[in-house]
Symmetry: C2
Amino acid sequence: MGIRNQQKEKRREEILAAGLNLFIRKGYASTKITDIAQHVGMSTGLLFHYFESKEKLLEELVTTSISNTMNVFFTDDIEPLQFFENTAERIFDELRNKTLTSKMFVLMNQILYNEATPQSIKAKLEDFDAFTPSIKLIQKGQSAGTIREGNPHALAVAFWCAISSIASEIALYPDTPCPESVWIIDILRKR
Amino acid sequence: MGIRNQQKEKRREEILAAGLNLFIRKGYASTKITDIAQHVGMSTGLLFHYFESKEKLLEELVTTSISNTMNVFFTDDIEPLQFFENTAERIFDELRNKTLTSKMFVLMNQILYNEATPQSIKAKLEDFDAFTPSIKLIQKGQSAGTIREGNPHALAVAFWCAISSIASEIALYPDTPCPESVWIIDILRKR
DNA sequence: TATAATATTGAATATTAGTTCATTGAATAG
DNA sequence: CTATTCAATGAACTAATATTCAATATTATA
């Protein structure tokens, strides 16, 4: 790759970063392409030299960036409650270290919870559905006696809603003190 | 009040209801005034006979409707953990009964977490700040030994993020099974 | 019924913001 | 050194959408 392509790649990442920051703070619809260009320090027109549209920019954030940061691995060979402990701890670690992950949570939630975002983009997030596999794991943990009784779907909702909303809070207000993962795990843990 | 004023009031409420539903599903910015009018079954122009602007419509949702639904009472004369139990249970009750409350949670969060919403509107929500009084209560509960140790601010964040994100989930997907309030209380409860 | 007030419409207007493009300047390859 | 390609600009274009308004229909009241 020539020096020019490196430059181009770097510039693209700057745009992606600025876009992500504005999207999560103002929402996709309220973020002006002019805003993004200004934050990167380029003219509006130039932005279209790098991304063919505002929507494509969002799409790349979703496809590339989310796949890089949002890998929650579901495996069969681990005790269910232990899995949720590990997952929560790993996510909270990233929140404390202020990696991209927390910002990605905000973006994901914005997309998933907004009917206005094009179906094509939502579809890209299907791979990251945490509910379905969580429900099965919760049932397993209930049988094993480590996870409390109750509707497994509702338990999954409680757990993941808590996790993702805390992630959003930290992403948007980095000074907020980060809760401990063990507190959240107690939503699931059987006494 | 004459029959015409009653009609007018009723019409306004229809618009408010349609606006609320669309705002929480598509977000304020992506909701077109035409959409709202169409949902109510009136022409676009007529909507401006009832509300002088899209922003004023939002403002009224915030001022009038939220004050009617979002009353969390903080009092000194109750055991802290008990207060959180009561509050959570009351909120979850309303979620199960699908009152307006859950929708208001979504709207409040959208406003509070979105830099693009005008300061004038955000200011209207200051009265509903739950964090500040919660932190004090949590400290009290920690002294009394009913609430677990840890940063009180972080505990308040964990509790309220969980509550409000679950409320959002239920509001947007009414078929989602509602978690139990006792699960969420275990975020705070000392073992 | 007549008159005034209000409700309603839909087309016209204004504004905002996404996108295009002709042009200029800089870098690179031959 | 020169030609070609790419980076960059900002003004022009366009589409979308909030808002206005003149005209019309409906309703209330005297």
